[in-house]
């Protein structure tokens, strides 16, 4: 029982590391959002492993952290959706989706028509 918790706890630690690397190295904002989700998954799995260790009385895990995990997953989805919406809007207005400091300035900075037709 504890073995699974330790194994997936270590797996979670590796996921956070992979996510940190991707977040820094990948220049594309969408890839950074995916990387951020990988970090988040790592944190959630680690928390889930800790919940599993706290299981007793025939319950496989401590229900309090498990319930918080469900809350966390829903909030993580909301944050991801908001980030993706921001990115798509940036692309519509600027015509590119780069985070580079020397990004080309859009022809009409306040253009609101975008390219979404």
């Amino acid at each position: 029982m504890t073995d699974a918790a330790t194994l997936f706890g270590l797996c979670a630690a590796a996921l956070v590391g992979i996510g940190v690397y991707a977040l820094i190295v990948n220049p594309q904002p969408l890839r950074k959002i995916v990387a951020f989700n990988v970090i988040g998954n790592g944190v959630f799995v680690l928390f889930g492993a800790i919940a599993h260790r706290g299981g007793a009385l025939g319950w496989g895990g401590d229900p309090v952290p498990q319930a918080l995990l469900i809350t966390g997953l829903v909030v993580a989805f909301s944050a991801t959706a908001l980030a993706v919406a921001l990115l798509l809007r940036l692309y519509d207005v600027a015509g590119s989706a780069t985070l580079a400091a020397d990004a080309p300035v859009p022809a009409k900075p306040d253009a609101d028509t975008g390219r979404s037709r």
Partner: protein
Amino acid sequence: MMAALNVGIALLILALAVWTVVARDTFAAVVGFVAYGLLLTLVWVQLAGIDVALTEAALGGGLTGALLIGAAARLRRTEGAARAETPGFPTRLVAALAAVVVTAALAVAVLALPDPAPTLTHETAANIETTGVGNPITAVLLAFRAMDTLLEAIVVLFALVGVWSLAPDRAWGGRPGRLQRVDPNGILAYLARVLPPIGIVVGIYIFWIGADLPGGKFQGATILAAMWLLAVMAGLADAPPVGRTWLRLALVAGPVVFIAVGALGAVVADAFLAYPDGLAKPLIKVIEWALLPSLTVTLALILAGAPEREAK
């Protein structure tokens, strides 16, 4: 046997996580991420979190996957320019060092976790009878930690407000997303006709049993939202203009009922969100029934995105 299975799952997940980093094509990376999300569901099962597994499958693998795939398809033209921005070797070395340090610190923490583990299982088991529900997760979500759930429902709503506020001026209050042009005889349209009846039954069943067995409103609402989105993606239905009054009432109904029940607790019982003796289960049911439609509409509209077409 079980240990071998767990090691296999862990290795597959790590391999897919690496794939999302190294894949050249963002679309391929995102598809890998969806498969990775579904494998995480197995991790939750192995960690005895069936409720979490259901949420992960519906939200993490399902809705997040659909969201990212849609975005990757729309951003495809930026791929070439972005590749030129890949940082040089020094940055990558520093990033790798940072990743190794973080992983090592977490791994040490995992191996140093206290034994026996601190747990609230006994307290939950001792008090679950006062709530009248059989699923300890539901008892925590709607009784012991009801404040978290209330704030979560409001966070989801705020995320939707944030998404809507990104609408261009001409589409303010209009329909979200683009008009879908799909072959009416294609496989997508076929699935969008066949799957929703099954999905609606599954979603409501998962919601219905949530009081006593793994399941609940979040998982149910996510499945229902996915069924509606499937019909929208196949062009069989269209998203309503976000300015509609009925739509806004549907969005806030759940949180409003939740807050009203909480306020009732402040008056009748002794604290906000406290349930009067013997009324815990009916009030939990009221909150769940009120939250299900609101969450369904909110999650579906978050995924549909900012309004992009004028309301006609």
